[in-house]
């Protein structure tokens, strides 16, 4: 892919992530425990992506970014795991997710031990994506029967995360292979990553705005019912 187009893709992603972060920041007073965790994730992403963008294009330390997956994925998957503990029900489901999370952490530590910190952790990213897909698929299934499902912020953010994790599984799974074979293909396939990220952060913005709207509606409904 052309250097300039890749730059624009990355820039658009950083801007979208920052917008999502500021929307989340603006709606902070309406956050419940689950959305607080999503907010911390956005905060981390905004910092990481902006600094990564700066390092990649304006410094000579771009080699530092090869280890970013070893920071980003464990942090995000830990938050996603905590979100699943907060927002989801079902003992079996929680056990499966718990075991999955432990395996993920073990795999991550093993990956660092084996390949060092500054390497692309394909296994960690892939297993994290599969775990994320399971968690948000579970979240969506558990929402069946809830009132006004399309007005639930968790519904939209679950779709966002599901699209991101689910659609990137093939790409993440071939990261190491493609990097070693031909980095040109890797750059071509990055469009999948960018597209799913755009979907993810757009829907995240929708979810945070819905959260605000829903929280503003609740007192009014409460008053109505009291009458």
């Amino acid at each position: 892919m052309d250097y300039k187009i890749l730059f624009l893709y990355r820039l658009t992603l950083v801007i979208l992530e920052l917008i999502a972060f500021f929307v989340a920041l603006g709606t902070r007073r309406y956050h419940n425990a689950t959305f607080k965790l999503f907010f911390y994730n956005l905060l981390f992403i905004a910092i990481l992506e902006s600094s990564g963008f700066y390092i990649l294009y304006y410094t000579d330390y771009s080699w530092l970014l090869s280890g970013v997956g070893n920071i980003y994925f464990p942090y995000e998957i830990t938050l996603v795991y905590l979100i699943s503990r907060q927002a989801l029900d079902g003992k079996l489901f929680k056990t499966v997710v718990g075991v999955g999370y432990l395996l993920f952490i073990a795999g991550w530590l093993f990956g660092i031990f084996e390949n060092g910190f500054f390497s692309v952790p394909t296994g960690t990213i892939l297993s994290g994506s599969i775990l994320g897909t399971i968690i948000f698929l579970g979240a969506l299934i558990q929402m069946i029967g809830r009132a006004n499902i399309t007005r639930q912020p968790l519904f939209w953010i679950s779709i966002a995360m599901l699209v991101f994790y689910g659609c990137n599984i093939p790409y993440f799974g071939m990261l190491n292979y493609l990097a070693s074979k031909d980095s040109g293909i890797l750059k071509q396939l990055m469009q999948i990553l960018f597209t799913t990220n755009y979907v993810r952060y757009s829907l995240t913005i929708v979810a945070f705005l819905l959260l605000k709207k829903q929280s503003q509606l609740k007192p009014a409904l409460h008053e109505y019912h009291e009458q």
Binding site: L140, M143, G145, I159, G166, P170, Y171, M174, D182, I192
Partner: protein, 258 residues
């Protein structure tokens, strides 16, 4: 070892990603369909419960009306007749006595008792309420309460009989009785303001007091069967009932058909 060429790799990854996306879309659509089905089931179940509850309430109401009708008949045919007989006997006694004023006190009390029994009999009799209309029934009830209570009752009526069905008339009157009963029992009011309007086919009955009021959400959450009954009865008769109150600020009940 067969090594894939670049375009095959790209297509494989892209198609797998698209397949997963389609799968996710399918899952979301399935979730939507399942959600709609479950919502429909829940609505159907709620409607069934509601109609069952309505049926139970209707039967309860019919039984209650039957008991009240029997009581009313007993009061009118039995107690009323006995009191009339007692009055005749007293008249007979008076004829034989020199001092005809001796029985005046008893005579007045007896007269009041006969009136009270007649009015109570009417207020219990659903046929009378249906035939005479809500305005007349309310008026008689107010008259009856004025005689037995020290509370000032202020009655305002626009002299238009509201257009209500038989069931609505009866139910509105029973709700009115429950409202008054609540006010007399709990409100510690000095004044009760009753207003009835029937203009433009719009029925509006208001019972307002200057009593101690109460915390409505708190009452509704902790028992208050009387209040719940008022609301349920109103909805059963397709009437709207509003209760506006606050501690120390009196209470206003409104029942209307619009």
């Amino acid at each position: 070892m067969n090594i894939m060429n670049n375009s095959t790799i790209v297509y494989s990854v892209v198609f797998t990603s698209l397949a997963i996306l389609l799968l996710i879309a399918g899952v979301i659509i399935t979730i939507f369909i399942a959600h709609r089905q479950r919502t429909r089931q829940e609505i159907a179940l709620a409607q069934m419960q509601l109609s069952y509850e309505k049926e139970i309430r209707t039967v309860e109401q019919e039984v209650q009306e039957q008991i009240l009708a029997n009581l009313s008949r007993e009061l009118h045919d039995n107690i009323g007749q006995l009191l009339t007989l007692l009055r005749l006997q007293m008249e007979q006694e008076k004829l034989d006595m020199d001092d005809k004023t001796k029985f005046d006190g008893m005579d007045n009390t007896l007269e009041t008792t006969i009136d009270q029994v007649r009015m109570m009999s009417r207020s219990l009799n659903s046929d009378f309420i249906i035939q005479a209309g809500i305005a007349k029934a309310v008026e008689i009830e107010i008259e009856r309460l004025k005689q037995i209570n020290s509370i000032q009752i202020h009655w305002e009526y626009d002299h238009t009989e509201p257009v209500l069905t038989k069931d609505q008339r009866l139910m509105a009157f029973r709700i009115f009785q429950e409202m008054l009963n609540n006010t007399l029992k709990h409100a510690k009011a000095k004044n009760i303001f009753i207003q009835l309007q029937g203009l433009n086919q719009q029925f509006l009955l208001t019972v307002k007091d200057d009593g101690i009021g109460f915390d409505l959400p708190d009452k509704m959450n902790n028992g208050a069967n009387g209040l719940k009954n008022i609301l349920k009865r109103a909805s059963l008769a397709q009437l709207t009932c509003d209760i506006v109150t606050q501690k120390g600020g009196g209470c206003q009940y409104t029942i209307k058909n619009f």
